[in-house]
């Protein structure tokens, strides 16, 4: 099981990884990316089972990343982890093909709830 954590903040990637562990996903392999373009590359080379992605990132934001992925026919499960939790954002995310949107600050419970249907 492999999860890509994409966020421009090193600290936030760290927090996401820690929350994954606390939510019971201690055994998953985590790969990281610091922006959307990097994430595109990591997805191509690492083929993760799930992408946990920030919204606001330099170079290519999370929504552009998701749109690009889908346009290229890549249907890797994709969820946002972001502080942009407005209903407008949620709708945009859903329309682009995101499975869930976890709002910051999040809890291990929120992770479990969102990830269980995807990873089991």
């Amino acid at each position: 099981m492999k999860i890509l954590v994409a966020d421009d903040s090193r600290v936030m990637r760290h927090i996401v990884k820690r929350t994954l562990r606390q939510a019971g996903y201690a055994d998953v392999q985590v790969c990281e990316a610091g922006n959307g373009l990097e994430a595109l590359e990591v997805i191509a080379t690492e083929a993760p089972d799930l992408v946990l992605c920030d919204w606001n990132m330099p170079k290519m934001n999370g929504l552009d990343l998701l749109t690009t992925l889908r346009a290229r026919g890549r249907d890797v499960p994709f969820g946002f982890v972001t502080s942009e939790g407005s209903s407008e954002m949620r709708e945009k995310a859903q329309n682009a093909g995101a499975l869930f949107l976890i709002a910051k600050p999040f809890t291990p419970d929120a992770f479990r709830e969102a990830l269980e249907p995807v990873l089991g």
Partner: protein, 479 residues
């Protein structure tokens, strides 16, 4: 909590880096108030700090960054425009964040300073703006165009999309046409134009973007963070190694043992390369010191009612970290002097036929195995006649000796202890005790300082410093 300390210290490091960038971005933003790139970068920094605070339970920091984030998002979306007052309050916010972080670093908590007044002012600006800007809410499509042509910050060594495509077989003519279309106002991303022109497929564009991202990533992946103390310890060990090497070489000579001699020679060579390598790890771009100067100049200008533009050249010039540390204060002092004593009040400048805004130029370059730093202003300059008179009145020189001094020598008088030329003592540069201290500090690290000036046209201070510690006698690194 498990792993929390590590996260907090990582947070402190990351925020510190971001804040330094933020200072520069905010000052740069005053020059190009509409720059979405700068605004996005500033917004992201504050946004990241705020977002992380939510996890780390730093309530004060969160409240300060929260209101700033709202302000910045309005600026970014063009619903508010930047005013000097707004910049000032945002810079105050950066300072507040900085002292909160410092307190967290020292004591693990945010401390007891009260920032509610600042938050109140930020809020007032925000609500004031909400009242006015109800009509124009054309929210620009967030980061439109990032896909086609990632706009790299200037100076960043990163292949452009066009370069990558040409490398992959796109004809230069097609690229030139597409770029020309953009020049002429075509707002489509470069990749899109090429696809629409039928000279590239969208697959090729995506692949090229990927390759471009790859080039950037490998640069980031190829570096690690190292504690300076560790580097200093390595430096000392290398020093010891070299001393031992010399002993061994001497021993091999006296023993007349050719095998030992060969081994000693090899050790000699390897330790030489090791020394060079360790020296290189200690190099930093001079930008790491300069980066703070535009903010300093801005603050001084606000205090003094002046206007000064800072320009830099050669900010990537690399210097040993210890040497950089040593020139930091002298550089700061010289820049203060320029703004305080060099550049005239706007009215005086205009009367003298100069632009109201002064210009401060920082230049760094390698020459003659040294790093040269030049700090020049287009201010009033220093009058050698005045300096001679001053030196005589201070009893430093006799009238005859003073008269015999050439203009160049007379200018150097400013580096003498206790020599001050400013007619008004200000609280910015103090009583002019600085220049001799500047000279002493620079000479201490094996450097030299000189000054040239033309009355009415400006002053240039030139500093020459060694690139590495290698040539410095004495135990600078041994603490």
């Amino acid at each position: 909590m498990e792993g929390m300390d590590e996260i907090v210290s990582e947070f402190l490091v990351e925020s510190q880096e971001n804040l330094d960038q933020l200072d520069q971005d905010l000052v740069a933003l005053e020059r190009e108030p509409g720059s979405r790139e700068l605004l996005s970068s500033i917004f992201r920094t504050v946004h990241t700090i705020k977002g992380t605070c939510g996890f780390l339970d730093f309530g004060t920091l969160e409240s300060v960054t929260h209101v700033s984030e709202s302000l910045l998002s309005r600026l970014r979306d063009g619903e508010m425009t930047l005013t000097p007052q707004l910049t000032t309050v945002l810079l105050e916010m950066v300072d507040a964040v900085r002292s909160l972080l410092a307190s967290i670093e020292q004591s693990g908590s945010e401390g007891n300073d009260d920032y509610s007044e600042l938050v109140g002012r930020l809020n007032a600006v925000l609500t004031g703006a909400r009242g006015e800007a109800a009509v124009d809410t054309t929210s620009h499509d967030d980061q439109a165009g990032t896909l086609g042509m990632p706009t790299a910050p200037e100076g960043e060594a990163e292949p452009r999309l066009g370069e990558v495509l040409v490398e992959r077989g796109l004809s230069m003519d097609h690229l030139t046409l597409a770029l020309a279309a953009q020049e002429l106002g075509d707002r489509r991303p470069l990749g899109q134009i090429l696809v629409d022109d039928g000279v590239a497929t969208s697959n090729e564009i995506t692949e090229a973007l990927r390759a471009q991202g790859l080039a950037r990533r490998s640069a980031a992946d190829g570096s690690v963070r190292v504690d300076v103390d560790l580097l200093d310890a390595l430096m000392n060990l290398v020093g010891e190694l070299i001393l031992t090497r010399i002993e061994l070489l001497e021993l091999a000579m006296t023993r007349q043992d050719s095998e030992l001699q060969r081994t000693a020679d090899r050790l000699n060579m390897i330790s030489g390369e090791l020394e060079e390598g360790v020296m290189r790890t200690r190099m930093q771009p001079i930008d790491s010191v300069w980066g703070k100067l535009p903010r300093l100049v801005r603050d001084l200008c606000v205090t003094l009612g002046k206007s000064v533009r800072v320009e830099t050249a050669g900010s990537h010039t690399e210097v040993d970290k210890t040497i950089l540390e040593a020139v930091k204060d002298p550089l700061t002092h010289l820049v203060r002097n320029c703004v305080d004593h060099g550049v005239e009040q706007p009215a005086i400048r205009v009367a003298a036929g100069k632009p109201a805004q002064g210009r401060l130029m920082l230049r760094a370059f390698h020459a003659g195995g040294q790093v040269n730093i030049e700090i020049s202003d287009d201010g009033a300059g220093i009058d050698p006649v005045g300096l001679r008179t001053k030196a005589v009145s201070l009893g430093m020189l006799t009238r005859e000796a003073a008269d015999q001094l050439g203009d160049r020598e007379a200018l150097r008088l400013i580096f003498h202890p206790g020599f001050t030329t400013a007619t008004a003592v200000t609280n910015v540069s103090g009583r002019g005790v600085g220049m001799d201290v500047v000279r002493t500090n620079i000479e201490k690290i094996g450097g030299a300082v000189d000054v040239a000036s033309v009355v009415g046209q400006g002053t240039t201070v030139r500093i020459k410093i060694p690139v590495t510690l290698a040539n410095i006698p004495g135990p600078l690194v041994v603490r």
